[in-house]
């Protein structure tokens, strides 16, 4: 929703017409061909790791993951949130993650996950930090900064080893870049003979700067409410997630005046995954209603079919997104089709290759990242290679 900010009810500011037929990047990532510099923050990160390594015993578990890779498109207009273009982009796929799980006593756990991205010069950010209280075998409470389980892979979006794509389908996952909240949730598991239900209500607040290639967008909400319902059976997984919040948005975008507004956001997402032998089928759909004067609702979905002939996995994924409200300032209508090949080298190392063909609907921005102009060439071919490690 925040990815293409002008879609958030900004009609008074951005008129859909006239949109300039021009291909310019207002302020795309100018480090797309560089390597992040080693900074003091990196050193702090290193010290953090070493300190826990020294302290590590059977009550502290340290694990981590890393992704790296390269992407390039045949279109000079920045594409997707990472701003891929016709220059080799090494930084957007590169990150390190470190997770510390500490057992405080039989019922209490402390967990933290730190993320350092090349695109942010490896500055370290605590993606989540929380305490867990295991109230009973089937019920636990968590409090702190938590990931929003909006989609099937939201909580492991940085862990390339846990899915076969290089990035989870962007037209769904990047439409809602807000990934975390501060508050409390409760995980209530209901095992049955066929599967396990999970009911997870959560409340909290959001105070965050959202990732955005072309500027800074801050969001504040005091009344974040979420309900997650999931079923995991032998072969079938189903998930439904609803989110509501009153969100204050402050957008600082290059070339545009500071813009602030409030929106009542409701978001619903549903997912189905079915595994049968070597086949894996996934369908996820998203519906966002921002409920402002000029509603800029976005709907998106993807369908993916994967076949595993171990250690190789082949997959095909079709994605679709539209802004059904004609009044939307900058429609996001787009489709993509992608082919993936993943090769698992070992328990903790997998390499992936992906080709994606994307198309923005005529006169819309689709998944291109320009704000004020529509791309002259509305098609794009994105080729990516990535390596994902877990340790």
């Amino acid at each position: 929703m925040f990815n293409e900010v002008p879609s958030i009810g900004v009609e008074p500011m951005f008129n859909r017409k006239p949109l300039l037929k021009k291909q310019t990047c207002i302020s795309c990532d100018n480090r797309s061909t560089g390597i992040g510099a080693f900074t003091l923050r990196n050193f702090s990160f290193l010290l953090y790791v070493l300190s826990f390594t020294v302290l590590a015993d059977d009550k502290i578990k340290i694990s981590g993951f890393a992704n790296t890779g390269v992407s390039i498109t045949d279109n000079e207009t920045p594409y997707l949130k990472s701003g891929f273009d016709d220059n080799l982009n090494y930084v957007s796929n590169t990150l390190f993650g470190l997770q510390v799980d500490s057992k405080l006593d039989n019922a209490m756990h402390f967990s933290s996950q730190l993320i350092a991205k090349d695109v942010n010069e490896f500055s370290v950010d605590a993606e989540w930090v929380y305490l867990t209280m295991q109230v009973s075998p089937t019920f636990k409470l968590r409090s702190g900064r938590l990931r929003i389980p909006g989609f099937l892979y939201s909580q492991t979006i940085y862990v390339g080893n846990s899915y076969y794509w290089i990035r989870p389908p962007e037209l769904v996952y990047e439409t809602v870049p807000v990934t975390r909240f501060t508050g409390i949730d409760s995980l209530w598991y209901l095992p049955t003979s066929e599967g396990t239900w999970l009911i997870n209500p959560a409340v909290g607040q959001i105070k965050d700067d959202f990732e955005y290639q072309q500027g800074k967008i801050s969001g504040n909400s005091e009344d974040f409410v979420l309900l997650q319902l999931r079923y995991e059976g032998e072969n079938l997984t189903f998930q439904w997630v609803s989110v509501t919040m009153d969100l204050e948005i402050l957008a600082e975008l290059p070339g545009l005046p500071l813009y602030q507004f409030e929106a009542r956001l409701t978001q619903h997402a549903a997912a189905v995954n079915y595994e049968w032998s070597n086949l894996n089928f996934t369908l996820e759909a998203l519906d966002i209603d921002q409920g402002v004067a000029s509603p800029a609702t976005a709907r998106s979905a993807y369908i993916s079919l994967a076949y595993t002939d171990f250690p190789k996995t082949y997959a095909i994924t079709y994605q679709w997104r539209e802004s059904p409200d004609e009044a939307a300032a900058i429609p996001l209508n787009a489709t993509t089709i992608g082919f993936n090949f993943a090769y698992r080298h070992s328990f903790n190392l997998v390499s992936k290759f992906e080709w994606q063909h994307g198309e923005a609907e005529e006169g819309t921005h689709g998944a291109f990242q320009n704000i004020l102009v529509v791309p002259e060439d509305n098609t794009v071919n994105l080729v990516s290679y990535a390596l994902s490690l877990e340790f």
Binding site: K61, S63, F65, G97, Q99, D101, K103, H109, S111, Q113, W128, Y130, T132, Q134, P137, T138, R142, L146, R147, P149, Y153, Q155, T156, Y158, V159, N161, S162, Y163, L187, Y189, P191, E194, G195, T196, E232, G233, E234, S277, T308, F310, P311, R344, S346, F347, N348, V350, E390
Partner: protein, 147 residues
């Protein structure tokens, strides 16, 4: 020359098969501590447990213990019990750990004796062994025959 090459290849292949690890034909059993409240498991439950989809049985939290990576029994067990390669199943556990839903991946033991000692000392820990490695302190929850 061609015959010599063929002979070398033939000898090499014969030697490889001669020294190859014998294929285990015996059954694999899913086991737990003999004092565990869990009495038995179904094939579907075993699959869900080792694919990180089932953490509670009979209102008891269970913990999974694995044999060492790349051991023959681990590869065989995951293929037979879950239909998935052990490495692929491991990625699923990674997803659960790095999502924060569970705090750690299953423990691993380098040898069956250490694993058995852990099972004896840990209520509701579940693992798998060759049937010939069973001891009296362990309870069989499920048996996987090889046809």
């Amino acid at each position: 020359m061609t015959k010599t090459f063929a002979l070398v290849v033939h000898v090499y292949l014969v030697a490889m098969f001669a020294v190859a690890e014998p294929v285990h034909a015996e059954a694999i059993v899913v086991v737990t501590n003999k004092d565990s409240h869990i009495s038995s498991l179904t094939n579907a439950q075993v699959k869900r447990i080792f694919l990180a989809k089932l953490m509670v049985i009979d209102d008891e939290l269970i913990s999974i213990v694995n044999q060492q990576k790349s051991s023959a029994i681990r590869d065989d067990f995951y293929l037979l019990a879950t239909g998935q390669h052990a490495q692929r199943a491991s990625a699923r556990w990674a997803g659960k750990v790095f999502s924060g839903e569970i705090t750690r991946s299953p423990l691993e033991f380098d040898n069956p004796e250490a694993l058995k000692n852990w099972l004896k000392a840990t209520p509701n820990a579940i693992s798998y062994l060759y049937e010939s490695e069973l001891t009296e302190q362990l309870k069989v929850l499920f048996r996987i025959d090889r046809d």
